[in-house]
């Protein structure tokens, strides 16, 4: 607890100091330095609490408005750890990323305000997961939203960034609007805003626990980016500076998952349909997210859609876990929750890494458009290798950490699929198909992203000579890549250490959970062994081939089936690469093509452009918002712009309320 408080103090005061000092350099040192220092302190404290150090709580009242009540139990600590790790690494990256570059406009505000918002974001994320009081939780939740809004709109001289910022602000408040009734209902029943009284209140409200679950699902799901509430992600992530995207996508959206899981602990024994709902939403988010990612042309938009996909995988895990709890199958419950929670950490690591890699590419090339890139691995080897590690990890492929968590969810789904109860086996089979499809499509998407950006030849002559970033950015990418490998290597032990957190999340007895986790831990140990054999075999084969060849490698142009003068423009583009998939899923994606076709014997020129706007925002939200606007337009006569009239409205409203209350 002390380390958390010290860490929060360091982060906040450092951010404020950064906002006050006038020299940009000093602001960066203060802001980023304090964020890093605070993160190290906080992460050390959280690591101790994850493995089941006694729950520490702190409480004091701030008058009539509520109390500050915080506690670090294993579940909180499990979310605190990635928050601090990724924030610290992102701060290191941001210290270099924000430096004004040659040719870039320096009109984007002082770094001081940026660091103030960044540090406040870190602190409020940490506060969200440790808060034990509804008022404090909502205050932290709101300051998290506001801090990230200011971070997203840093480059607010661009219209796209402003639009993305407003969309994000609106979406996050719509989500919060569902949280207010949720907490109000619970507090009203409990006569206190203290979380510790909520389980009893929820038990008293047993009949309406489904309503509470739905409120939590929409409210927290908007933050997490569950399809179709995800529409702010693909706008906000590309607009934000890359280290901010990393933090937002890696850990901030996970506070939505935390909120959902914490709420489940209040609601008592879950009902089966909650599990079905989460599995269905998980499949939809996972498959939908990856399909839209495939259709994107912008690197950071693509990554943003992959956050939707990974939230889907996490939901599949949690949904299976809920089904296990509801049907009293502890093995399924433990596998589902452990897989989902481990994926929270894994996604923080590899998605953070990928956004940092994308940021380095953006820095070097000056554009996020995938189809213009190519051949960057030779020019930026550090970034390329880091991105490759992230890509392999996010596809859930064996040598890295993504496989460990996806394997747990798979194991749960296979176990559930064998269940004699149809209420379990059918959703488990759905999860199985969903995971398989997500896995294949994600691999396709990252083969496209890595292959087109980093391999081959540059598709367009790039203005500047792209090169790797400086030491801080390289170091932060290397740290995250190392963390991905480390988690994969230590997965058997990590899974066992997760027992207290899984027990908190699932409501099952800690000893039971630890016992149930022994088997998956052993499987993961065998996987680590197989993967170690794989890596050794790859290295041995490389060495053997090098000995066989011993310098007998001739270098020439690519064999383009005999064509003598291939150009870089003849390479397959990302759009062509994804075309068979986007065409196959066309009825869902509704990609629009704008084409100028060739005509006549001597065609002057042709062009082809596609865009895939988000189906949810176009088909669901746009009509709703339009209808709302139309309906409210009738009240337009009230909006006169005169302040005296508005004061009159206030007075009349108050009067009406007074009369009504009398």
């Amino acid at each position: 607890m002390t380390s958390l408080l010290v860490s929060l103090g360091v982060v906040c005061s450092g951010g404020m100091a950064a906002a006050i000092v006038r020299r940009p350099r000093a602001a960066t040192v203060l802001g980023a330095g304090s964020a890093m220092l605070g993160s190290v302190l906080g992460a050390l404290g959280a690591a101790r609490a994850v493995i089941g150090a006694p729950v520490e709580a702190l409480e004091f009242s701030w008058g009539d408005f509520g109390r500050i009540s915080i506690a670090i139990d294993p579940l909180s600590a499990f979310f605190l750890l990635p928050i601090f790790v990724l924030s610290g690494v992102a701060a290191l990256y941001g210290a270099e990323y924000l430096k004004p570059r040659d040719g870039a406009s320096g009109a984007n505000g002082s770094p001081g305000l940026h660091w103030l918002s960044f540090n406040l974001l870190c602190a409020s994320m940490a506060l969200v997961v440790v808060a034990r009081d509804a008022v404090l939780f909502l205050v932290a939740w709101e300051s998290m939203a506001l801090a990230s809004f200011f971070l997203v709109t840093r480059e607010n001289d661009r219209r796209a960034v402003r639009d993305a910022g407003w969309l994000y602000l609106a979406a996050t408040h719509v989500g919060t609007a569902f949280l207010f009734p949720l907490f109000l209902i619970l507090s009203h029943e409990a006569h206190t805003t203290d979380f510790s009284a909520f389980p009893a209140a929820a038990a008293a409200l047993q009949g309406s626990s489904g309503v509470l679950f739905l409120l939590a699902l929409v409210g927290f799901g908007t933050k997490a980016g569950i399809l179709p509430l995800h529409i702010w992600l693909p706008e906000a992530h590309p607009a934000a500076p890359s280290h901010v995207s990393a933090v937002m996508s890696g850990v901030m959206i996970k506070t939505g998952i935390y909120g959902l899981v914490r709420m489940l602990t209040f609601l008592g024994p879950p009902q089966e349909w909650w599990g079905w709902a989460l599995v269905a939403l998980g499949c939809a988010s996972g498959v939908g997210g990856v399909l839209f990612a495939l259709a994107q042309h912008d690197l950071k938009r693509l990554l943003a859609y992959h956050s939707v996909e990974n939230i889907g995988i996490i939901l599949l895990g949690i949904g299976l876990g809920i089904l296990g709890v509801a049907t009293h199958v502890p093995a399924l419950a433990v596998l589902g929750f452990a897989g989902g929670l481990l994926h929270v950490v894994n996604h923080a690591l590899f998605k953070g890494l990928l956004f940092l890699g994308a940021g380095s590419v953006l820095h070097a090339v000056g554009s996020g458009e995938i189809d213009r890139m190519g051949g960057l691995l030779k020019r930026m080897p550090w970034t390329g290798v880091a991105f490759l590690v992230g890509a392999v990890a996010i596809c859930g492929l064996p040598p890295l950490n993504g496989f460990a968590s996806e394997f747990l969810v798979y194991a749960g789904a296979f176990g559930g699929a064998g269940s004699p109860t149809n209420a379990v086996s059918i959703p488990a089979l759905a999860a199985l198909v969903g995971l398989a499809l997500i896995g294949g499509l994600a691999a396709a998407c990252f083969a496209k992203a890595f292959g087109v950006v980093f391999l081959g030849e540059p598709r367009e002559e790039l203005a500047s000579h792209p090169h790797d970033p400086g030491l801080p950015m390289r170091l932060s990418m290397a740290l995250l890549a190392g963390a991905c490998a480390l988690v994969a290597l230590l997965a058997p032990w990590i899974v066992q250490a997760m027992a207290p957190a899984v027990s908190d999340a699932s409501g099952l007895d800690a000893d039971l959970v630890a016992g149930q986790l022994a088997a998956p831990s052993r499987w993961l140990g065998l996987i680590v062994g197989a993967v170690a054999a794989l890596v050794a075999l790859v290295l041995a084969l490389i060495a053997w081939r090098a000995r066989l060849l011993a310098g007998r490698i001739a270098t020439t142009g690519t064999w383009d089936c005999g064509y003598a003068r291939p150009t870089a423009r003849m390479q397959y583009t990302a759009s062509s690469f994804a075309q068979p998939i986007t065409a196959f899923f066309g009825p869902f994606l509704r990609t629009r093509a704008h084409a100028v076709r060739t005509a006549g014997y001597f065609p002057p020129g042709a062009s082809h452009a596609t865009e895939t706007p988000d189906v949810a925002s176009e088909r669901v939200f746009a009509p709703i918002l339009f209808a709302t606007k139309q309906a409210l337009a009738r009240l337009h006569w009230m909006q006169q712009g005169g302040v005296h009239l508005y004061v009159l409205y206030l007075a009349v409203t108050l009067l009406v309320l007074l009369v009504w209350k009398l």
């Binding site: 176990g415 149809n422 089979l429 198909v433 065998l526 197989a530 054999a533 084969l541 020439t556 291939p566």
Partner: protein
């Protein structure tokens, strides 16, 4: 988890006989075409020859290009150690090991596709693009098909799953096992770049899928690719034969003999399919794979009886 000597013998058999499986396929095709055909050992001769050759690499490529073949071979070899044959034990078995097998092939594919894109060739990009779509659609069919067997045998580790497929199970659950086997057979043809999905012998790069992705590889790297794909055919084939040939007497000689006969029949069947069918149009292939998934889903519905 003790190491079975039998499992090691099985792995050695897989490593030795996998290329011969390809020879058998080619021999069958030659017979149908009225030729005498190449020796059954031809793939081994080719591998030996390739190992002595130099390599030519494009100047566009990076080390990723060199990683493709070795990752492909290493992943297939590890997968061979995870898949049991003849109802016996695999070297390593645990619930969900089939996920590891599928994802090892996924890793191999990721790097093969990477190596293809690394050359900057339009043809190889084209092949890579088709490969990723077809494999993404084949994956659900594979898992659904295996889930059918898993539900019927009550286990999700390949060793205990395939070990439990005996004549007794076939008499009880013939329809769903047969449907699952057909679905897995289609997946096998697609994953191993066989007709009707892909034609390993076509002469036109434009219509290829797997072959065109490895156009730029030569020498020992090409040998690694050829051997890797032979192993992949063996591994997926031994899962299919493990389901389709339910001889479980307990004697390694009888079971092993039946298994090897099953593999030979599988190779001949692939040869017959390749000789009597044309390759499907590329736009039809996803439909074939989705129907494989559909067959597996029907089989699953039957397991709810």
């Amino acid at each position: 988890m003790q190491l079975h000597a039998l499992a090691l013998v099985h792995l050695a058999i897989a490593l030795l006989l996998a290329p011969i499986l390809l020879g058998l396929v080619n021999r069958t095709k030659a017979k149908f075409a009225g030729r005498r055909g190449q020796p059954v050992m031809q793939t081994w001769y080719d591998l030996a020859k390739l190992l002595h050759k130099d390599e030519v690499r494009s100047r566009t490529t990076t080390p990723v290009f060199g990683l493709g073949p070795v990752v492909g071979l290493a992943a297939a070899a590890i997968a061979a150690a995870l898949v049991p044959m003849a109802g016996g034990p695999a070297i390593v078995a645990f619930p969900g090991d089939l996920v590891l097998v599928a994802y090892l092939f996924g890793l191999a594919r990721f790097f093969t596709v990477g190596a293809a894109l690394d050359t900057g060739s339009a043809f190889e990009g084209m092949g890579a693009s088709r490969e990723v779509l077809f494999s993404a659609l084949a994956e659900p069919a594979l898992f659904l098909g295996l889930a059918v067997v898993g539900r019927r045998t009550g286990s999700f580790s390949l060793t205990s799953m395939l070990g439990a497929v005996d004549t007794g199970l076939w008499t009880r659950a013939a329809p769903e096992l047969a449907l699952a086997a057909i679905a897995l057979g289609i997946v096998l043809l697609a994953e191993n770049a066989r007709i009707p999905v892909d034609d390993p012998n076509t002469h036109l790069e434009l219509t290829m899928i797997h072959e065109v992705m490895v156009l730029d590889h030569s020498g020992p790297s090409l040998a690694a690719i050829e051997y890797g794909s032979a192993l992949k055919l063996w591994v997926l084939g031994s899962v299919l034969v493990g389901i389709a040939v339910p001889v479980r007497t307990g004697s390694p000689w009888v079971d092993g003999g039946a298994f090897l006969a099953g593999m030979a029949v599988l190779a001949i069947a692939i040869g017959i399919v390749e000789s009597t069918m044309a390759r499907l149009r590329l736009v039809r292939v996803p439909q074939l794979l989705v129907s494989a998934g559909g067959l597996a889903a029907i089989a699953l519905v039957l397991t709810f009886r």
